[in-house]
């Protein structure tokens, strides 16, 4: 088996004002294999976002070891981490974080600005096609619905063809239909062989993944594998017909 993520005894301690310390993560060990669709589930304050930041190389753990694709991340410089984020990881955030006054295409092109790729526009167009927004290339975020904005963000995460898609509460700001649409894109990506890690507080959402890692008070409390995860596409079809909102 090819383990793309190997985290060993990860500890994250925040020091506030020197004296008071907050243990966000305690001895968290987790392995994720290439091509898995895993959900990290926990209540707010459980440490799931902290874990995601570490797995995404946005932050360094204060203790433990983290191997990404066989490479020990602890020993890498900030610039190397940036390179890893650029090439191996695609982020999707709850708040989309699209640049305002910038059209979909340019938003998707952003990661490529920091790569050595030259065929920027072509790659960005392709990524937008994958998420079904080929006809919204020159729309600004303000002209798109929440679901569409999040799909632009997913296209941005995909554009550099990363190994891992890391999504932090991607449906948190969406209604259920748009949320399911976004989840169905993740399921589609998973079917195509991508590793997808979904961070969520909601069991309903987590149940679309093939594996659910439970986290509570900074510790992993459970690791379930689902044989028959929910299929977002089927659920969408069973939803009552609805005129699209927020257009």
């Amino acid at each position: 088996m090819n383990k793309i993520i190997q985290a060993k005894d990860i500890t994250q301690i925040y020091r506030k004002n020197g004296a008071v310390t907050v243990k966000a993560l305690q001895d968290v060990s987790v392995d994720i294999e290439k091509g898995e669709f895993a959900a990290i589930m926990g209540a707010s304050g459980s440490g799931k976002s902290t874990l995601m930041n570490i797995l995404g190389c946005l932050a360094r753990p204060t203790g433990g070891e983290y191997f990404l694709d066989g490479e020990n991340v602890n020993q890498l410089s900030d610039d190397d981490l940036a390179k890893i984020r650029n090439r191996k990881i695609g982020f999707v955030f709850q708040l989309f974080h699209l640049l305002p006054r910038t059209d979909s295409l340019e938003n998707v092109e952003l990661p490529l600005l920091y790569s050595d790729r030259s065929d920027i526009t072509k790659l960005a167009q392709k990524a937008l096609e994958v998420v079904g927004l080929a006809d919204r290339i020159h729309h600004y975020p303000a002209e798109l619905s929440g679901g569409q904005q999040q799909r632009v963000a997913i296209a941005r995460a995909l554009v550099n063809n990363p190994e891992i898609i890391l999504a932090d509460e991607p449906t948190g700001n969406l209604d259920s239909r748009a949320g399911l649409e976004v989840i169905s894109v993740f399921q589609q990506l998973h079917a195509e062989g991508k590793t997808v890690i979904l961070v969520t507080h909601s069991r309903e959402i987590a149940e679309h993944a093939n594996r659910i890692i439970l986290i509570k008070d900074g510790r992993i409390t459970g690791d379930e594998r689902a044989q028959n995860p929910l299929n977002a596409r089927d659920e969408l079809e069973s939803l009552p017909e609805e005129t699209e909102v927020a257009q």
Binding site: L58, A82, K83, R85, N86, L99, P111, Y114
Partner: protein, 406 residues
């Protein structure tokens, strides 16, 4: 390639925030525009000073009748009415070592002259033939004043280009007879063009007649000389020869040691000093304004950029999350600052040139827009951009991506 992409991205970003970008530029625009105006005027003034010195003659000393001080101004010529230089003064000055030419002349300003129905007023000079050497200016057409003309008190004249234009707009003046005051003079030549006189007036609005004719027939001053132009062999002797002339004149005029001079000497060194003392203060003041506007402009840029760093926290965090290194963010913000200041510099240069043209048009001051000014505008914009862009850029590049995305 990557930096090119980043630069394009910066341009696009600034274009999306036109109002903010423009407001950031305003200070730089004003600063650079002021700088350009000042430089152009200074260079124009310098050119004028050089022209005046050349017209005056770098190795000339002018001896004026009448004393008195005119502080901060170039002394205008002394007219016949105050003439007090004697023939003996002339002879004594000629015998000073290093003196090459001594050319006395009579002078009267605003003399009415008339030819047929045309008339105007002009400066009339009664000169010796060596005037041409002393001023390096002879007749461009016809003849200059000859020795014979002076000896025989001939009523002949050589006219300046302005006079020719006024009195003979389309006819040939040579051989024509014009009236100076009530005396008839025959035009025998036209003077070479010269432009501005040492005092800054039109040196082509001039009629030249023989010295003797002027003294006895026109200006009624047979005894004294209004002015003497002395040419020395080397400009470095100007000071010592001036002192010698001064001593001779004081002795000849029987001035007691506590009495003031009843004459005045000017040379090119004094002219430069006088012009510079007037314009220097103004230039320093204006340069100070330009410097202050640039400083204020820079601070405005820094301020707005610092605010925009806080405002664009999410953007910075996102850029870092998708792979921007700290130095990429640093570069982006410095580029933004540079694009702002350099664009401001170019706009300021254009505004400055417009300002210069308007000033030239309104005040008639000559101005010179030079490549140096453009280079300086660019240089200053660049420096302001770097100095005031670095701090916000560092702040942006040091943001922690996790914090920034929150």
């Amino acid at each position: 390639m990557k930096i090119l992409r980043l630069t394009t991205n910066v341009f696009k970003g600034l274009g999306k925030n036109k109002m903010r970008s423009f407001l950031m530029m305003v200070g730089v625009i004003i600063g650079i525009a002021t700088l350009i105006v000042i430089l152009s005027i200074t260079q124009g003034a310098n050119k004028k000073i050089m022209a005046r010195i050349n017209n005056f003659g770098p190795n000339a000393i002018m001896v004026h009748s009448g004393g008195g001080k005119m502080r901060g101004q170039i002394r205008g010529p002394s007219t016949v009415s105050m003439a007090n230089l004697a023939r003996k003064d002339l002879q004594n000055i000629s015998s000073i070592e290093g003196v090459k030419i001594v050319s006395p002349f009579q002078l009267k300003m605003d003399m009415p002259i008339k030819y047929q129905s045309q008339f105007t007023t002009t400066t009339v000079m009664g000169v010796m033939p060596n005037w041409a050497d002393a001023w390096k200016r002879g007749a461009s057409k016809g003849d200059f004043i000859q020795t014979e003309d002076v000896e025989l008190l001939k009523k002949v004249c050589v006219i300046g280009q302005t006079v020719k234009k006024e009195l003979f707009p389309d006819s040939n003046p040579i051989g024509a007879e014009l009236l100076i005051g009530k005396v008839k003079f025959r035009v025998q030549g036209i003077l070479q063009k010269r432009g501005a006189s040492p005092a800054g007036t039109d040196f082509d609005n001039l009629v030249i007649i023989p010295f003797s004719t002027a003294s006895r027939r026109l200006m009624n001053q047979p005894k004294y000389i209004a002015m003497i132009r002395v040419i020395v062999d080397d400009p470095s002797h100007l000071k010592i020869i001036s002192q010698q002339i001064s001593q001779i004149l004081r002795r000849n005029h029987h001035l007691a040691s506590q009495e003031e001079d009843d004459f005045k000497l000017t040379s090119s060194t004094q002219i430069v000093k006088m012009i510079k003392s007037v314009s220097g203060t103004l230039h320093i003041f204006l340069l100070l304004i330009a410097g202050l506007s640039l400083l204020v402009g820079g601070i405005v840029i820094m301020n707005i950029m610092l605010i925009s760093v806080s405002e664009r926290k999410h953007e910075i965090g996102l850029r870092k999350a998708v792979g921007a290194r700290s130095k990429d963010i640093l570069l982006q913000f410095i580029l933004e600052s540079l694009v702002i200041t350099l664009t401001g510099g170019i706009l300021g240069f254009i505004v400055g040139i417009l300002g210069v043209k308007i000033m030239e048009w309104v005040t008639n001051m000559p101005a010179v827009v030079s490549w140096e000014a453009l280079a300086l505008a660019f240089g200053f914009s660049f420096i302001v951009g770097i100095i005031f862009g670095v701090q916000p850029a560092r702040k942006a590049s040091r943001l922690d991506p996790v914090e920034a995305l929150r």
